[in-house]
Symmetry: C2
Subunit: 154 residues, 2 copies
Amino acid sequence: MKDNNDMPGHLARRFQQIAVAVFLAEVEDAGFDLTPVQYAALATIKANPGLDQVTLAGLIAYDRTTITGVIDRLVQKGLAERRASSRDRRARELVITDEGRRTLRKITPAVESAQRIMLRGLSAKEGEELMRLLRKAIAAGNDLSRAPLRDIQA
Amino acid sequence: MKDNNDMPGHLARRFQQIAVAVFLAEVEDAGFDLTPVQYAALATIKANPGLDQVTLAGLIAYDRTTITGVIDRLVQKGLAERRASSRDRRARELVITDEGRRTLRKITPAVESAQRIMLRGLSAKEGEELMRLLRKAIAAGNDLSRAPLRDIQA
DNA sequence: CGATATTGATCAGTATGCTGACGATCAGTA
DNA sequence: TACTGATCGTCAGCATACTGATCAATATCG
């Protein structure tokens, strides 16, 4: 039987498990309570004010059904707001609040520290190579998940 | 602001997302209904008959609270059994059933196919390198998650 | 031996993620 | 314009994962 350590799927799960744990620990040390998913959503809302939920989902490769709950929690924490769109009454426009902006700014060092810690076993060169290979594998498999990454179309 | 594609945490999440989707699709095509976690647990039970749940958790780096539900479902599907341990009345000994063995055997091609598909964007050499780097990063971060990998101690 | 600490399994609660479905709305077309 | 199909957001249901707690049983040590 193949060893777990020869299975990319197992290694993927394990690495992600560590990445999430490191992220949460660093963020909590900084005095905040924000998950990796919530952070990514908030940062993307800030960079694309007024975008709708489906577009947000595409930009960070979430399933659109997952977004609902994530936004719920961002709104509940006062970091983002959901507004009715004037152009499309089905859609909700997402905007970051002032507190969301403040939180993002203050949390950034912890987030960057987390990225370093999860690569601490690798040299800088190896870390770069790992990211390159992950990007390449992800690009080839993008459409294999229900929540592919999608650019904003103009 | 840093791009998502420069964040190992984001790449980890995305790669794992694809890995799970590929696994489930291949296994379903083969006519089975088994998640990656259930597969890993079942294979580990087969390789270590009579092990208890905490040991199983350590061997595949699960949280022990997650194991309970996973085993519940394996038992419910008739693939594994939970038996009272004679040596330690707190512990449950896990064993694979004949049907579990049959399922494992028949599902193996699909599992191996899934591992290939999730690396299809990479050359064989790159795939090996990706796995090497993941193993190295994971080893360095093993104790950072609540569910570290643990060997069986004799 | 007995008090204390530890361990195995489970539970409640919360947060991703997925499938499949739904109602409301919009877009394209006959 | 009326019909058809697609899209946006949400929901119910299920399966990982985690935190923190509890109960029963075992280990350890004075």
